[in-house]
Symmetry: C2
C-alpha cells in the first residue's frame, strides 16, 4: 500500500490548472472516484474544488479523518452538500467562479443539477477531456505501480499453466486466477469510465465462447455466467485443441495493466495457430511504429492494414458485424483511458509518458479467438513493455 | 442460468406504465444496466423505450443477436445513436413524446444531453423513482433467485468456519470466501446505484479494522487494501479474541442478498459479546414490527430507540461522528434499493413483496464492531427470512 506523494498531487493539479487556463475555466469540480483518487490520493466522499490558480480544496463529507491521513493535499474542509461551497470559497477568499468544469461523461444528471443550482449564474462546461489529458501522461511513480500490476498478472499467467485442466469450466478457471490475483494484492476492482462499464478482472473463456460477441466494446466478449452479466467466463467446460483466452487486468494500488495470453491443451488448428502468429506480427509492427508524434489513428490504420493484408478483414478485432474500431486503449487508474489506438484520431499523437494496452485479436465464430495483449509505455528512451509474461502460445 | 420469463417482463412494464400515466409521462427511456436487465432480461448496449401505452421497444446497438436470444421482449430494433429514435418511433406509428422520463440519478450529463437534443421540444423528468418503485416489489420468480443467492452466502458462511485461522490476513480470508462464492455461481459483481458506489462481494475485516469508518454510506467501513479503494479487507492479520466480520453479498443471476455474521477465535470481550446479543434483540424487534403498512421511518425509529435505550447512542450504526441514518436497505438487482429502513420516510410504508437487508451493528473504535445482518421478505403470510445461516456468534 502506497500513499500518493504530495509532490505528485501538486504536479497533477498544476497540469490541470494549465489546461484550465487555456480553456478559460475558473474552476473544476471533481467528484468521481477515479479522478478523486488521481488528484487527492484517496476517494473520500465529497468533491475536489480546483481553482484556476492556487491550492485545490478537498471538500469531504465522509470521512474527514481518513482524508487527512491518506491525502497529501493541504486544504481539506468539511462539507455536507454543494450548498456549502460558496461559504467555503468566501472563507478562503476565493473568487466566485463564472466558468466551471465538471466531469460530464460520468456525473449523473441529478447530482449535476444540485451543483448547477448553487452556481446559477455560472456557465458549466465538460472538464472530462482536460482531466483525461492530464491523466494520460504517467509519471515515474505511476510507472512503478504499473510494473507491480504487471507482476500480478504474471503470477496469474504462471498459475494458469498449473490450473488449466480438461473438463473444468471457464468459470472455475476464472475463480482460480482471481484467487491468485487477490492473494497477490489485486484490489478486486477494475475501474472503467464508460457509462455502464463493468468488468471483473478481465475475461477468461475458451473455444467457441471466446468468439461470442457481447455488449462490451471489446474485440472478444464471451457468454458470461448469466444474461445479467453477459461477458467473460461462462459454465462452458474446457476441451482439447481449443484456444483458452486469459485476458487479465492487474490492479496494484489502483493502477491497471492489461494482458492477454492464449493457452491450449494439445495444440490448435492450423487456422488458429496462424492467426495467433499473425497477431504477433501486428504487435511487432506497432512496436516499430510507436514513436513520439505518431497520430493514434495512423498507428491504428497501419496495424489494421497489415491485418487486412494478411487476410483478416472479416475477423480482425471481432467477427464481421461485431468488429470494434480500436486495437489499443490507454490504461492507468481506469481501463479505458487515453490514448485510443483507434480509427480516426488524426490530431492526437503519441507522447512520452503514455501507457496503453495493445490487443490485436482475430475471431472465428463457431471456432474461437486468438491474439495477444501487452501494456506498453512510451519512455524518453523509446517504447517499453510493462507486462512481462512470455508472448508464446502455451501448449499444455 | 435463467432467462427472465416474458410474463415477468410484461408485468414489470405494465407496472411502470401505470406509474407513468399517473405522472403524465409519455415515455421513459431506460439506459442503465441494472434497469435494462430488470425490464429486458439482458443488458445489451442501447436503451429501452417504454411508451405510456403499448409495447416497449428495445433499441440495441450491440449485440442484437444476443438481445433476441436473451430477452423475452417482442420488439428489438437496431440502433446506433439517440438520433435514430424519432425514425424508429415513426416506423412503429408511435407518437412523438412530449414528456420523457430518464434515470437522472445514474445517467451521465453528457449522454443525457445527446438524448435531449433529439427531443428538443420535450420536457425531461426524472424517472428513477418510478423505476425504483416498480423494482421494489418482488415477484415469486425473483424470490426464488434471492433464495439461491442466500444459498451462496450460506456456502461462504460454512467455508469461513474452515478457513479462518490466526495470523492470516483479512484479505487472504476474503480471497478464500470470494473463491467459494465464485465456484457457487456468484457473478462476481455487486451492482450499486449510488454515484461512486463500488463494492467487491461485501466486507471482510477483523478487530480494530472493523471499527474504521470509510467513505461508504455503511455502518462499518474498513481500511481496505489501498487508499484508492479504502473499504473492506486490508492486510491486517487476524488475531485471537477479536470480532471477524463477514458481511457478504450473494449474487445469483443478478439478484443480491446481504448477510453479516461475526466469527472469533477464542471468544470476545464482555462488551463486544453483549453488543452482539443486543443487536440480535434489535433484529427481533424489527421482526415483530415489520408488517404491511408500517412506515419505513417508524421501523427505523423504534429499532433505533431500542438501541439507544440499551446504551448504544454513540456506537449504533457507526461510532460517534460516523453514524449512518439507516438500519436497513432494499436489495434486488442492486444492493441499494427501496425500501430504506432509515430516519425520516414517514410516508412510505412496508408493502407485500418488499425485500430488505436489516443490519443492526455497533462500533467501538480501537476495539471492533459486532452485529447481525439478514435479508427479509414481506410475504402475504408475513415476514420471511431469506438468508439462512445460523445467527449465532461463531467461536472457533
Amino acid at each position: 500500500m502506497r500513499l500518493t506523494p504530495a509532490t505528485e498531487l501538486e504536479y497533477r493539479c498544476k497540469q490541470l490548472q494549465t489546461l484550465m487556463a487555456a480553456q478559460g475555466l475558473d474552476a473544476v469540480l471533481i467528484a468521481q472516484n477515479a479522478d478523486l483518487f488521481y488528484f487527492t490520493g484517496t476517494i473520500q466522499s465529497g468533491c475536489l474544488y480546483v481553482p484556476q490558480a492556487g491550492q485545490p480544496l478537498y471538500l469531504v463529507r465522509r470521512d474527514a479523518a481518513r482524508a487527512r491521513m491518506e491525502s497529501g493535499l493541504k486544504e481539506i474542509r468539511p462539507f455536507s452538500s454543494p450548498k456549502d461551497i460558496p461559504a467555503i470559497l468566501a472563507d478562503s477568499s476565493y473568487p466566485v467562479p463564472k466558468r466551471i468544469g465538471m466531469e460530464f461523461d460520468v456525473l449523473p444528471v441529478g447530482l449535476f443539477e444540485r451543483y448547477r443550482k448553487v452556481f446559477s449564474d455560472a456557465e458549466f462546461l465538460d472538464a472530462s477531456p482536460l482531466v483525461r489529458q492530464v491523466r494520460m501522461i504517467k509519471s515515474h511513480y505511476e510507472i512503478h505501480l504499473l510494473q507491480d500490476a504487471a507482476d500480478q498478472v504474471h503470477a496469474v499467467h504462471l498459475r494458469a499453466q498449473e490450473a488449466i485442466r480438461e473438463g473444468m469450466t471457464d468459470l472455475e478457471l476464472a475463480a482460480e486466477l482471481e484467487y491468485t490475483a487477490r492473494t497477490h494484492g489485486h484490489l478486486g476492482l477494475i475501474r472503467m469510465r464508460v457509462f455502464n462499464g463493468e468488468m471483473m478482472f478481465g475475461h477468461t473463456f475458451s473455444g467457441v465462447d471466446s468468439a461470442v460477441p457481447a455488449y462490451t466494446d471489446t474485440p472478444l466478449g464471451g457468454m458470461g455466467p448469466s444474461p445479467c452479466f453477459g461477458q467473460g467466463a461462462s459454465h462452458k467446460p474446457i476441451g482439447r485443441h481449443e484456444p483458452i483466452i486469459i485476458d487479465f487486468a492487474g490492479n496494484c494500488d489502483g493502477y491497471l495493466v492489461d494482458q492477454t495470453r492464449v493457452f491450449c491443451i494439445g495444440g490448435l488448428s492450423d487456422r488458429l495457430r496462424r492467426g495467433f502468429d499473425d497477431m504477433l506480427k501486428v504487435q511487432e509492427l506497432m512496436k516499430e511504429l510507436a514513436v513520439e508524434g505518431v497520430p493514434w489513428g495512423e498507428l491504428y490504420d497501419r496495424c489494421h492494414t497489415l491485418a487486412v493484408d494478411m487476410g483478416y478483414a472479416d475477423s480482425f478485432m471481432g467477427a464481421r458485424g461485431s468488429q470494434v474500431s480500436f486495437i489499443g486503449h490507454g490504461v492507468g487508474v481506469e481501463i479505458d483511458e487515453y490514448p485510443y489506438i483507434a480509427r480516426g484520431f488524426r490530431d492526437q499523437t503519441l507522447q512520452v509518458g503514455m501507457v496503453w494496452a495493445f490487443e490485436p485479436k482475430v475471431v472465428f465464430p463457431g471456432e474461437g479467438a486468438v491474439g495477444i495483449e501487452n501494456t506498453f509505455y512510451l519512455s524518453r528512451d523509446g517504447l517499453k513493455q510493462l507486462t512481462r509474461s512470455d508472448d508464446a502460445l502455451v501448449i499444455l
